[in-house]
Symmetry: C2
Subunit: 213 residues, 2 copies
DNA sequence: TCCCGTCTCACCCCTTCGGGTGAGGTCGGC
DNA sequence: GCCGACCTCACCCGAAGGGGTGAGACGGGA
């Protein structure tokens, strides 16, 4: 049986050594490469066949998430296992969306780490317990990216948009905000125009697609 | 230090014995109860303080998902760890939504099981590798519950609903389906009426809220 | 066979909506 | 003080949407 070919990607020399020691102790695993940043990792993936890339999410130059996206693009068969010092919600989601097969925190116990590498190599996934909770929460209540797909809107318009997204009619909005219907119509018009939306129906779609609902 | 109080819920005697043996071998864990169905489990939770409920998802009478929902309702501090023979996508999601803190398959290795019990007792979560993949997929591409929040709609109406959800106007729909606008309006009216929706805006909301978009 | 559900279409009516235009008031920065 | 952004409101218009009603055609099940 051939060993699982693993590359380590971490800017910390000490940690790379530690990981190499831990993983090499497992007879199923062979650490074949060892680089310090995402850019180099991508180069290695381009030139060699790898089973698992164990990557720190925070690194100089090309960060872990970007590197992951590129790696899964050029080598779909190669699994990426994210490694981080803490379970940051946003990074977890970003990493998963980028195509990572797992997400572990660095306080993971050696045996678990080795097992996780084997798991992802086998095509399954691995989540650290602390991370799993985060991910489960996301499944429970659809994720909401609070970014501004509301660019250029004034505060009042954002408020109007929120009501539009909830399906309120103009007359309801004017009741909600104690405004004249004409004013509401003005705001709605401004919102649609600024966001380039055809009508309130598309405003609702826009809201959901951008996680504002 | 007090031990983690665990209840086993499984209709298979043999498995309960096995679980009890495995878990009792861990000094952090104490198996305090042992029942054969969801209804009994709920009763026990009502009367006793438990840390973790280890529950089979498939059981006669009250199934695991329903029991989980009830347990987390009446005892939010009690964690439910789902146990199943295979990782069924739908059940995983149902269990998570019901409030389960983890989901393991029965082929889990004893040490991992014990650790998982401790993990969820500590407030984190546990996912079997095979299950983790399923859950990650759900995070990657927004989950879609293909269940019928479309109850009572005819095939044609479902089709119309799909277009409504995408923000198509009546005239666009009539072009899409090669129908007269009057016909489209008839269908739209039927859809809104059957689903109890006020207008197409609410149809869009309905679609997103039920994962049909 | 008849009936019912479905799909199709028509016509009328009224409300809602979106676009256009204009305008008065407030507030903060230059 | 002036200008600009913002909030407020008004009026008009035409298009789109939703409610009501009715009806012809088709097909499958009782």
């Amino acid at each position: 049986m051939t060993k699982i070919r693993v590359m380590l990607v971490d800017d910390q020399e000490l940690l790379r050594v530690a990981l190499r020691t831990v993983l090499s102790a497992d007879e199923r695993i062979e650490v074949t490469h060892d680089v310090t940043n995402g850019g180099d990792a991508i180069e290695v993936v381009r030139r060699h066949r790898l089973d698992v890339v164990l990557m720190d999410i925070r690194m100089p130059r090309v960060d872990g998430v970007a590197a992951t996206a590129e790696i899964v693009r050029i080598a779909p068969a190669t699994r990426v296992l994210m490694l981080t010092t803490f379970d940051d919600d946003e990074l977890v989601v970003a990493a998963i969306r980028a195509g990572a097969s797992g997400y572990l925190t660095k306080d993971v116990r050696p045996a678990v780490l080795a097992q996780a590498v084997c798991d992802v190599a086998a095509g399954t996934s691995a989540l650290a317990p602390g991370v799993a909770a985060t991910v489960l929460d996301l499944v429970r209540q659809a994720p909401m990216r609070r970014t501004a797909a509301l660019d250029g809107l004034t505060p009042r318009e954002v408020e109007i948009f929120g009501l539009l997204a909830r399906g309120r009619s103009n007359s309801e909005i004017c009741a909600d905000l104690v405004l004249s219907e004409n004013t509401v119509k003005s705001h709605v018009k401004a919102v649609l125009q600024k966001l380039g939306l055809r009508d309130r129906v598309h405003a609702v779609i826009h809201a959901y697609e951008n996680g504002l609902a």
